[in-house]
């Protein structure tokens, strides 16, 4: 991979606090949508976090920020939760989340910070925040407060800035046009067993 450019990544939006252990298979989206294999974001969006607060989805705007506690997106790795959250352009700051879920969030181009403090130390639900994912600086615009969270690693910022993993692969191909052509001739001696 190329050296990370690690450009700036700043998000401004209303924040929504959720607690610890908000699970992938029920907390983020009710599990029936996984059972029904629903993947249309428009069908999923009205039900985001419905088991925590049925009215929460109605208050969420594109580009908002989820402040979560420990073990965010735990449980069975259903795809519906990330389909909906990424379609709404949400960013995530949490105390912890399973590594494989961090990978999924980044793959879908979501700004995400792991290792944050207790969400209540940063804001209350409804506050407007500005988060610089490249430095970890948090401005609570509603309260005139400042806070710090860990920065998002530059390699991950690049993937998110590109629009996710698939967009980064297309970008890679554009920079390596030789990989758009099927190899010709015997380029090396393969071990064929």
């Amino acid at each position: 991979m190329a050296e990370p450019a690690g450009g700036r990544l700043i998000r401004r939006g209303i924040c929504h606090l959720v607690g610890d252990d908000v699970s992938m298979d029920d907390g983020i989206i009710p599990r029936r949508f996984a059972a029904e294999r629903t993947t249309d974001p428009q069908l999923l969006l009205p039900h985001l976090f419905a088991n925590i607060d049925p009215a929460l989805a109605g208050r969420m705007q594109h580009g908002d920020i989820v402040l979560a506690g420990r073990n965010f997106a735990c449980g069975k790795p259903r795809v519906q939760g990330f389909i909906a959250m990424s379609a709404l352009g949400l960013a995530i700051v949490c105390r912890s989340m399973p590594y494989r879920m961090l990978r999924r969030a980044v793959a879908r181009g979501m700004p995400v910070i792991v290792g944050g403090p207790d969400p209540a130390a940063l804001a209350a639900s409804g506050d407007e925040l500005e988060i610089d994912f490249s430095t970890g600086a948090v401005r609570n615009l509603s309260r005139g407060m400042h806070g710090d969270v860990p920065a998002m690693p530059p390699i991950l910022r690049d993937i998110v800035a590109a629009g996710g993993m698939q967009a980064q692969l297309l970008d890679w191909l554009a920079r390596h046009p030789e990989q758009a052509v099927e190899p010709q001739g015997n380029l090396w001696s393969a071990t064929d067993n």
Binding site: G136, P150, I155, N193
Partner: protein, 426 residues
């Protein structure tokens, strides 16, 4: 609060690095890496099995890729559906050969050639201590038995094929200090069950999500490669990141003052035979807890217990005896080379004389029951990598796990049996 990810001032001294930090730093071309840092390590080998080659090709072709970044590092292995059991498997085999040719894949192990992709590269020297690999399948942790770092990344392996690397966050390490030696009748597999159960139940209060489990201490010397493979394999399903044994060049071992996330000790002398109840290796109990449960299906093999020494241990119990009426038992060598050794040494004869069936080298029933499956309402005991519902066929079956000796003893008696009872019989 300062950054935990990219604080150069906070980089630890070289003398405090864990083995995984050293291996990832080397693979990423860096002097040091910190835990939590995100890097692009370059693998020396990229392994994909027959269950995912076509999907990888479709995904990359749809994006416009016609060539992969480092074909000379890529390895295709057919180990999941070896003896094609369906017309689909036959056409899949043809597709894999075609894709390997189009992409100029450097290492292709077709049906009946290598065997299990997590085992034969250990036996033929392709995987060496200190190597770094990416693989599609999570059970590539077996390479930790040789001191190689292998990360199973699932479908993201397509990114490795396309670009030559994949972002990797340097994981924390749980150090497990082994002491003593295993008593007769106990096996490294039993150590793995004790450890897996202990970690899952919070016995040591250690977080294990995506951590590296590192085995060191005086007890390591008492474990041969097959035993180390069994131990690496048994802890994999917990959701750990990788497993490493402290073998190979000392320069690549963890420094004595390395910053481990947790340190545990296990005395091998105190390990008794275990059985994992259906649902996962972490559901382990001492074998006596479920002794007497009737079994109809048994197999020895899979990436965790498919090496020559595993079969020697089982054959010692099966020699001169007959497996119980109503039990069908399958022997699945991990590699073609192991299958040949079993034949040369007369062990294949021992297994067949006892009434067991020899299957071709590969995953055996553990690959979703594509071969020799478990039926609904039946009970199985095996050395499979895991035993969640449907792993070996019918979701309504009851798959238990045990060591090669426990599986052999249970097949002989027709019910779950403590192998020490048969050892005592002489």
């Amino acid at each position: 609060m300062t950054s935990t990810h990219d604080s150069r001032a906070l980089r630890p001294q070289a003398q405090r690095a864990t083995a995984v930090q050293k291996l990832l730093a080397r693979a990423a071309g860096l002097d040091h890496v910190t835990v939590g840092e995100v890097v692009y390590p370059e693998p020396q080998l990229v392994i994909i099995h027959d269950g995912f080659v076509e999907a990888a090709y479709r995904e990359l072709s749809a994006l416009g890729f016609r060539a992969i970044r480092h074909p000379e590092r890529a390895m295709f292995v057919t180990d999941h559906e070896v003896a094609y059991a369906s017309p689909q498997a036959i056409s899949r085999g043809a597709a894999i050969r075609d894709i390997a040719r189009r992409w100029r894949v450097g290492h292709r192990y077709d049906v009946g050639r290598g065997g299990h992709g997590h085992l034969f590269p250990l036996e033929n020297g392709m995987v060496q201590p200190g190597m770094f690999l990416f693989a599609y399948d999570m059970h590539c942790t077996t390479f930790g038995a040789a001191g190689a770092l292998a990360l199973g990344v699932g479908p993201e392996i397509t990114t490795v094929l396309a670009t030559g690397s994949l972002w990797t966050q340097v994981p924390a390490t749980i150090r497990v200090e082994l002491s003593g030696g295993l008593p007769p009748g106990s096996h490294a597999r039993d150590v793995g069950f004790v450890l897996t159960h202990g970690l899952a139940s919070g016995r040591w209060g250690a977080e294990f999500d995506s951590r590296v489990i590192e085995f060191g201490g005086a007890g390591v010397a008492a474990l041969d490669l097959a035993a180390r493979v069994a131990l690496c394999n048994s802890v994999t399903e917990l959701g750990i990141g990788a497993v490493l044994f402290e073998v190979g060049p000392p320069a690549l071992h963890s420094d004595p003052a390395a910053d481990f996330a947790a340190r545990l000790s296990l005395d091998l002398d105190g390990i008794e035979p275990q059985v994992a109840l259906p649902g996962g290796p972490e559901r382990a109990v001492p074998v006596g807890t479920v002794a007497g449960r009737a079994v109809q299906h048994a197999f020895i093999g899979s990436c965790g217990s498919g090496m020559y020494e595993d079969f020697v241990a089982a054959a010692a119990l099966l020699r001169g005896r007959q497996i119980a009426d109503g039990v069908r038992m399958f022997i699945v060598p991990g590699s073609v080379a192991t299958a040949q050794r079993l034949a040369d040494a007369g062990l294949a004869q021992t297994f067949m004389a006892a009434g067991a069936v020899m299957l071709p080298a590969g995953c055996g029933p553990c690959a979703g029951g594509l071969m020799a499956p478990l039926g609904a309402g039946e009970v199985s005991i095996s050395t499979a990598a895991t035993n969640h519902a449907g792993r070996m066929g019918a979701p309504e079956g009851q798959p238990y796990l045990g060591s090669p000796q426990t599986v052999a003893a249970s097949a002989l008696r027709g019910c779950i049996t403590d192998p020490r009872e048969l050892c005592a019989d002489g």
